[in-house]
Symmetry: C2
Subunit: 244 residues, 2 copies
DNA sequence: GAATGTCTTTGCGCTGGCGCAAACAGTCGG
DNA sequence: CCGACTGTTTGCGCCAGCGCAAAGACATTC
């Protein structure tokens, strides 16, 4: 699904431009401005009037939402080739999220008008956008359901599995999640607190499931996490049945 | 936003067909098959291969998700004029949700192929779909954030406010939510349990905020709910500050 | 109108997870 | 090498909300 590579070589790999001829892709790309944003800086803030639709070429973007009280929630990460911030720009709305560069980024940006015209001219673009958006909607819905029905341990396990898919790098000893994520970040991705995450990771480490360093986690036994996420009978049975 | 009326008079009111000429709307509508589904029955079940994109003409549809353990979560209701079930049909995916008629329904249905062609022919349709989908994504994200950060009381208050917007009918004495919703339903819409909802409603009734009958709620003081949802200092101060 | 089923309320006990506070690493700059 | 940060761990107390069980209210059927 997502690109394993961190940077993007060609227009071929842009979701939005799939199925267009190379020449057409060129035309569309020409209509965009390039846009660099360095680590920690942001493309846009939640509430800003939505002007641009972006496609990330290089780097990684963190999409977050802020509660009125200032608490943060991480919605997702964007990998090279994906669009973001986008569809709000087609209407006259404001951005519903904040997009922060979690490493130095390079992106293409079209303003709403331009992109609307391009989509009318090349409906494939709109169709591609629709598909991506639908996939994203589905993902958020799934996570909404998880949050509504599942306990913390499972949700955190799921978060790790997702991270492995997005940024997992095989190593001897397990799969490294190749991102710098604090306990706080993990908590914001799982709908819990940094304390609970910390306690959970400590336990998992004691049980040999993972090895965690500061801001970095190595998953030693990924399918043990799957067992937790799916509530399969784990290898180390957590509890005896009550006496008969 | 949503249509107040329960049934739809003309093609003019279909989100997907906004901005097309009447003749074009006709063509598009002709390509659809009509589809009746009676109360309690379902358009499709979560996991079914996604074939059709629907637009609701009449009735009301409940979109839900089921956990592997069989617990249900209500994602949203669809009012006449809105599309649903849809975008999965453009790819070759399965439906990520279940769509159940919560009253007798009439809908238009296009299969994925047909709709893809229509969108290529009339890009406006794709653009309209994009906007709707974007709005829906944003809504789910907001609710995700609420679920992750806010306590039950607020979430239930928000659920009511949303319901008022979607199906509120003014009456003497307040606003009636003109839907039959059990405590269980309200719980599934708020991410909690029917017990908690019941207790909360009892309290609100004691405080004169609402009047609740079986499967029906009359909101007497809507802006008191807003106060709860936004954590404003309520009119009846819940607590005294601790002594100095 | 008695009987049956569905929905709702409420008491009760329990616990998962929150959140403070304080100690404990690593990391960075000079 | 030292201090100052920033991130992490852990103990501790607490309570919001869960979930059972049992009773009560309302509907529906024959």
């Amino acid at each position: 699904m997502a690109l394993p590579a961190e940077s993007l070589q060609s227009l071929q790999q842009i979701d939005l431009l799939q199925g267009l001829r190379a020449a057409e892709q060129e035309v569309v790309a020409q209509a965009a401005r390039r846009c660099r944003v360095e680590q920690e800086a942001s493309f846009f803030q939640q509430g800003d009037p939505a002007v641009f639709l972006y496609v990330l070429l290089k780097g990684r973007v963190k999409l977050t939402q802020l509660t009125p009280e200032g608490q943060e929630v991480i919605l997702r990460f964007i990998a090279p080739g994906e669009m973001f911030g986008g569809i709000a720009a087609l209407g006259d709305a404001s951005y519903p999220t904040t997009a922060e560069a979690s490493k130095d980024c390079l992106a293409l940006a079209w303003d709403g008008q331009t992109m609307t015209h391009l989509m009318e001219r090349y409906p494939r673009i709109a169709l591609n956008a629709l598909k991506r958006l639908a996939a994203r909607l589905q993902e958020v819905q799934d996570r909404y359901r998880e949050l509504a029905t599942e306990r913390v341990e499972r949700r955190v396990a799921r978060t790790f599995l997702r991270l492995i898919r997005q940024a997992g790098v095989k190593q001897e000893g397990g799969v490294l999640i190749d991102l710098t994520l604090s306990r706080q970040d993990l908590a914001e991705m799982s709908g819990t607190t940094l304390f609970t995450v910390s306690r959970l990771l400590s336990r998992w480490e004691r049980e040999g499931l993972i090895e965690s360093k500061r801001k970095r986690v190595l998953v030693c036994r990924p399918h043990a996490l799957v067992a937790i996420a799916e509530d399969l009978p784990a290898n180390s049975p957590p509890k005896e049945p009550s006496e008969p």
